[in-house]
């Protein structure tokens, strides 16, 4: 997992750092605009982009040689999806009864 050290990763580290700071400013600024129902969507899209940047570059998920790692990450997301989807299938549809 860590033999990516041949060429310096510093450029990508600092690039990701700047992108994360810009994303933080962006989410703060966008929250002050009235986008109606899209405020939450934009906030979550920015947050997910930031989380992906951290996972891919800082946690070295990008370029990880171990395939089992990807199985763990994908099944984690899948189980989280089950948790959210089945809970909302109940709570979000109670108005229709």
């Amino acid at each position: 997992m860590s033999d990516h050290a041949k060429s310096s990763p510093l450029k990508s580290y600092f690039g990701v750092w700047i992108a994360l700071l810009v994303g933080t400013y962006l989410t703060y600024a966008v929250a002050k605009l009235d986008l109606g129902p899209y405020n939450a969507a934009v906030a979550l899209i920015i947050a997910t982009t930031k989380a992906l940047l951290v996972a891919l570059f800082f946690m070295h998920l990008k370029g990880a040689s171990e395939k089992l790692l990807k199985v763990v990450v994908i099944s984690t997301i899948f189980f989280l999806f089950i948790l959210v989807a089945l809970s909302m299938a109940d709570y979000a549809t109670r108005w229709y009864s």
Partner: protein, 238 residues
């Protein structure tokens, strides 16, 4: 008889063995992969742990939409944004510490570890200021909770229901509190990493504890990346 065999075997064995390689692993890469694999599984369980809280947040946010907006507006978003930036900087210093170990730069490694811990402490300090404000405003759920006559964002003629706002603050304290607890644990881990680094235990060949501790730190950062917009930035527009 087997004496010569035994000596031959040990000598072969010692040729293969780098001092950092544990007996039951074939190669150092396998050893590293096993360690980070274990950490990723742990992080998977942590996602589910926080996931339950995020789902309860989602349900109550949909039920008590305006009350949550009013309650969220009472939190200082500037402090939250500062804390986000502080954590992002700490994540950068974590990868710099690992890079320092990889190129055998002791100063970079130890300096970055110290900076990471300082950022972590700054985060907890700012969090403490936030909690202090909430205590003074009687926004802590419990007997002295008070949230009277706070208008709902977008509906200046309606006031938020204090009972519903109390649920927002309960979720706010549990989620940020659990996150802060993870930060405290992270600071403990990094204290240990700093001692190990100081003693010269980490080399370009072996610095797995740094990578594993770093994975944990980045994960706690990711949780905060979601907590910040969900707790601090809802219904902020005028």
């Amino acid at each position: 008889m087997s004496d010569s065999q035994a000596t031959a075997q040990t000598s072969v064995h010692e040729d293969l063995h780098s001092p950092a390689l544990l007996h039951h692993f074939a190669t150092e890469e396998q050893q590293r992969n096993a360690s980070s694999f274990g950490m990723w599984i742990f992080l998977g369980t942590e996602v589910m742990f926080f996931g339950g809280l995020f789902v309860s947040y989602l349900i109550y946010r949909l039920w008590y939409f305006g009350d949550f907006g009013a309650a969220s507006k009472s939190i200082d978003a500037g402090l939250g944004a500062t804390n986000t930036a502080v954590l992002i900087c700490s994540s950068l210093t974590v990868v710099l510490a690992i890079w320092g170990a990889q190129i055998a730069n002791r100063k970079l490694m130890i300096g970055s570890l110290i900076l990471t811990m300082l950022f972590g402490l700054a985060f907890l300090g700012i969090k403490g200021k936030e909690y202090k404000d909430k205590f003074e405003e009687h926004h802590v759920p419990g007997a002295s909770f008070s949230f009277e006559k706070v208008p709902i964002p977008g509906h200046p003629d309606q006031y938020a229901n204090p009972r519903h706002a109390q649920i927002f603050f309960a979720l706010y304290f549990v989620m940020t509190g659990l996150h802060a607890l993870h930060m405290v644990v992270g600071l403990g881990i990094f204290t240990w990493l700093l001692i190990m680094a100081w003693k010269g235990r980490f080399t370009p060949e072996y610095h797995t504890p740094l990578e594993i501790g770093g994975l944990y730190w980045h994960f706690v950062d990711i949780i905060w990346i979601y907590l910040f917009p969900l707790l601090y930035l809802i219904d902020r527009h005028p």
